[in-house]
Symmetry: C2
């Protein structure tokens, strides 16, 4: 791999420390940040490639901890509808027609959009995951993948688990560690406790985490109480799910006891404010979760319920919504919002230490943004700009594990024209 | 003025009808839409300039009905703070240092950002309005301007009114009607009823509408009740303010009676969801206002409390927030959100009929967006894409009154480099 030196105007290394440094540079060798600090005066010869970025800002790549990537094929196919009508009349019939090539091209479209918005890593739960993994491998993005498991029908449930085992043995650690796998029990209402016990046994054996939807809607809570006499988070706790490493998406409808459980058991909560608003699910108590010490990261959910995969938009929404909902302008300050979308995301996916921030020895997953735009000026506080003013199109360069995936807004690993063509062609067939 | 023909892939004419037409074209002559319909096969010669836009979409320009443009100079200067501390320790001291040249360059920065995001018209309330008007005149944008009036100190209140009269006589109708003026009594808590009576008398004489902040925070309501025994909207109604043409910004804290008053008196409500969330003011009852028949449009507020002037973001936020807040995914469907940001905006500013939509005889205020981007594909529903997926950077071309202000994302009437330089230089002095 080429030795690359980036000399940007500004660096935000992230982690707990979002202080701005200027006059610094980042040396990337073998996919790793080999040096980060004041300029040493390297010259071409010692270095294969020098990237100058005078009026530009480098920061850690964004981590999207909950999506269903190929659902971009259903972007704006059906909106502004009641949830069950939307699912039963529109989404499920269209999904039933998806073949593995649709999933591949849909995932490629999603990855194109994610790279363009500065996302370097995402967690996906869907199906035909061999084809999702193939798209990740080819495009160079980092991903944590889980096949969605439905356990209501025992036969299908068992088949899904078998398939998941095979997926994990094929793909866990592929792309020199870029691709990791999880088990994906869909939700408490589609996976009864007995089935979840089976999932947990396999997670123990294969040493992989779980990715589940949890407490997304008021109806889910009501049904769970009716059926099991417990609320969703309580039910999951009672069957020992949280002894596993769990990524729980949504967590909108929680009582104080459930917030405490999520915090104490260090469940990774994927907060999806855009999707929760759009589907009318409600507003998750982000401030209360963080105050209780819960581990929260951010997801876009699928593009059928968002309708984009824009993590800068999602982190802004998370910060704004918490302030407005609690009528507290000090809730989720800018640096905390940035943490949710970077290092918290990497930790939520149980990835190697160092991911989600920029430091020596960490994988070089980073993005560079162009600040020479009206909405990024004047330069009072670049962290606040990133949260409250930035846009996906400000991202100019994306690097994952030392490899450039986008430069000057040109995708380098994806034939974007073909992806748009295939996605439109397939979407038309799927929704006809 | 040159005769321009635009041949885009798609046209959304807006108004009440957001149906998509393809194979259509728009002819612009003397600042007016002279023809809109199926292609007639014009050729260069008959037409001075033909703009082809195969994979592009033309729609009405966006109207931002509440901002303080030059406050971009304080973008991200102070965030995540309690409201009064933010105002007293940060914003007011910095504002006290603003001179007229700062306002000119700040407004130019704001206009640059607004044009880049597809805004063709905005309503401003600030001071040094001669310089704001100058920036609007030079840049080619459409604007409705009001000098902010504070009536607590009678002497200053009277001086402000005198100045407003002179501004109105200088600028109302300038730029061949592009610039219109309003009177800008700041808010009920800074303009006591007696002063508002004076403002109303002058509005009657000069035949201009009023632009006021109303019911923005819980504290405002409490203070108004303490002082006048009425809530802000009730108080304004009781003194006859709503017999005037009134643009009321915010309207967050309303009871049912006040919603009814705003609807019955056809007050123009400027909904500012981003600012209301960010300052922790709360969530305005948008769905209830619309259900009651109130006239609602959208504003970004100033960039010190947003922190951008992105109307596509604001209309998305309005739609999402209403759905989530009411737990109703059918609230504010896509086409209604688009109406809020276009024709409702033009009507809110009491501008000529036809503005805010595309039709023959209407002023040619329009924008063209590029759809060849992952987040705009597949093409199931372009209206939904505009609301739920689009971004400011998708806007490629902006025209106001038949004049091109941006083409291929290049600003044509503004020296952007100089604007960024001046804005940064001045912001540094102001906040030192």
């Amino acid at each position: 791999m080429p030795k690359i030196l980036i000399r940007p105007g500004f660096i935000l290394s992230g982690g707990d420390n979002w202080d701005l440094s200027s006059d610094s540079e980042i040396l990337i060798e073998d996919g790793i940040i080999a040096y980060l600090g004041h300029c040493r005066g390297y010259v071409v010869g010692e270095i294969d490639r020098i990237i100058e970025g005078n009026s530009k800002l480098v920061m850690p790549g964004l981590v999207n901890t909950h999506t269903h990537a190929a659902m971009v094929l259903f972007r704006s196919f059906a909106d502004d509808m009641p949830l069950m009508e939307w699912l039963e009349k529109k989404i499920w019939p269209a999904e039933a027609r998806l073949n593995n090539e649709d999933i591949y091209w849909g995932t490629m479209l999603a990855i194109s959009e994610m790279i363009r918005g500065g996302t370097t890593c995402f967690a996906d739960m869907y199906f035909h995951m061999d084809d999702v993994a193939r798209a990740c491998l080819e495009s160079g993005i980092r991903a944590s993948l889980a096949q969605g498991l439905i356990g209501i029908d025992p036969e299908k449930g068992t088949a899904g688990l078998k398939q998941s085992k095979s997926l994990i043995s094929s793909w866990h650690g592929a792309g020199e560690g870029r691709i990791t796998m999880m088990l994906g029990p869909h939700a408490p209402y589609t996976c009864p406790p007995r089935y979840l016990q089976d999932v947990m046994s396999i997670a123990d054996i294969l040493k992989v985490p779980l990715h589940i939807h949890l407490a997304e809607t008021r109806d889910e809570v009501r049904e769970c109480l009716d059926k099991w006499g417990k609320r969703p988070v309580e039910l999951m706790d009672s069957i020992g799910l949280f002894a596993q490493r769990v990524l729980a998406a949504h967590c909108v409808h929680l009582n104080d006891g459930e917030i405490k459980i999520l915090a104490e058991k260090q469940v990774s909560v994927a907060h999806n404010p855009g999707s929760n608003l759009k589907l009318g699910s409600g507003i998750a108590p982000l401030k209360d979760l963080l105050t209780a010490g819960a581990h929260v990261s951010l997801g876009t959910d699928g593009a059928a319920s968002n309708n984009n995969l824009d993590m800068l938009e999602e982190l802004r929404l998370a910060a704004l919504l918490a302030k407005g909902f609690h009528e507290d302008p000090t809730a989720i300050p800018a640096r905390q919002a940035l943490k949710l979308a970077t290092v918290n995301g990497a930790q939520a996916l149980f990835l190697e230490e160092g991911l989600g921030m920029l430091k020596e020895g960490a994988p070089a997953d980073l993005i560079m943004l162009d600040l020479q735009k009206p909405h990024f000026n004047p330069h009072h506080d670049l962290c606040a700009h990133l949260v409250y003013a930035a846009a996906a199109a400000d991202v100019e360069l994306v690097m994952v594990k030392g490899k450039l995936l986008m430069e000057k807004r040109e995708l380098l690993t994806i034939d974007e024209e073909r992806v748009l063509y295939e996605a439109n062609r397939r979407a038309e067939r799927l929704t006809r």
